[in-house]
């Protein structure tokens, strides 16, 4: 797959509900109650129940992988977690992912991910490198 700097690789909005968080808790084994209990989240001073950072990171790579050749080899993937995604019990939350080609060299294409929820950027320096 040819990569050109600036190209859009993929874009998707994923709607998260409390069910999504419980599902991720079970799949990952991360049962920290701040991800499903309002009382615990409030007790530690959070604005609400939060999506797991690793769920957001996982969604972002899912959006990229779905757009690549199934045999494409991912070399590395890293993010910084900045803002949490608060998941309302009734309305949930939207996570918006935009993946563009940030750099290309002989070995790899760097795909830069812009991941937002509402106005907030929730991941920064989110970059996934794929072998070319």
């Amino acid at each position: 797959m040819p990569f050109t700097v600036g190209d859009l690789v993929a874009e998707r909005t994923v709607h998260l509900t409390r069910e999504s968080l419980v599902r991720y808790a079970g799949a990952s084994g991360d049962f920290n109650p701040i991800h499903y209990r309002d009382d615990v989240a409030a007790a530690v001073g959070l604005p609400g129940v939060l999506a797991h950072g690793m769920l957001t990171m996982g969604i972002a790579s899912s959006v990229v992988v779905a757009a690549l050749d199934p045999a494409a080899r991912i070399i590395d993937y890293g993010v910084r977690f900045t803002k949490p995604v608060v998941v309302d019990p009734e309305t949930g939350a939207d996570v918006h992912v935009v993946a563009t080609v940030g750099a290309v060299d002989e070995d790899a294409a760097r795909i830069d991910l812009k991941v937002t929820s509402g106005e907030a950027t929730v991941l920064v320096k989110a970059q996934l490198r794929v072998a070319v």
Binding site: V14, S20, R23, Y24, G26, A27, S28, G29, D30, N32, V44, G45, G53, M54, L55, M57, G58, I59, S61, S62, V63, V65, A66, L68, D69, P70, A71, R73, I74, I75, D76, Y77, G78, V79, R80, F81, L128
Partner: protein, 149 residues
């Protein structure tokens, strides 16, 4: 924060056998709808032995190593004041169903910022043959006792 943690190496975790249904379950949880995550034939057609785990699945094994760190009596890490600040994975190959994975954690750095500590640890994840699969690096931010995180 206990600076003696830097350089500390932990024993390898018990082998984790990656199940096909676990990969499918994890893929569904992270909205990974590429066919190689769930369809064995699609995975084989792409050159893999079985269904391919999404890239962040390595966290499942890394988490076992982080539990070792949290269980250290002298770690000084209080979970209620700890946030996941940064995460990186460096892959030799993707994880596929059937892999038997072991993680080996090393604390590689502690940086103090105000009253907060940034703890970097690295888990080397290898397969049953000892071959490198992925290195998972986490930065945990442990807030000061007064301020909270």
């Amino acid at each position: 924060m206990n600076q003696d943690l830097v350089g500390r190496e932990f024993p390898p975790t018990a082998p984790y056998l990656v199940g096909r249904e676990k990969v499918r379950e994890f893929a569904r949880a992270v909205f990974a709808d590429a066919p190689q995550h769930t369809d064995v034939e699609a995975a084989r057609a792409a050159g893999f032995a079985d269904v391919v785990a999404p890239p962040t699945f390595a966290m499942v094994v890394q988490d076992q190593t982080l539990q070792q760190l949290l269980a250290e009596p002298d770690s000084g890490i209080v979970l209620a004041r700890t946030i996941h600040a940064e995460q990186r994975f460096a892959y030799t190959r993707p994880i596929v169903a059937g892999d038997e994975l072991t993680g080996r954690l090393t604390v590689t750095g502690i940086r103090m910022m105000g009253g907060n500590a940034m703890i970097t640890s690295q888990a080397e994840i290898t397969d049953a043959e000892g071959g490198h699969v992925v290195t998972a690096t986490s930065v945990l931010l442990v807030g000061s006792e007064e301020g909270g995180a």
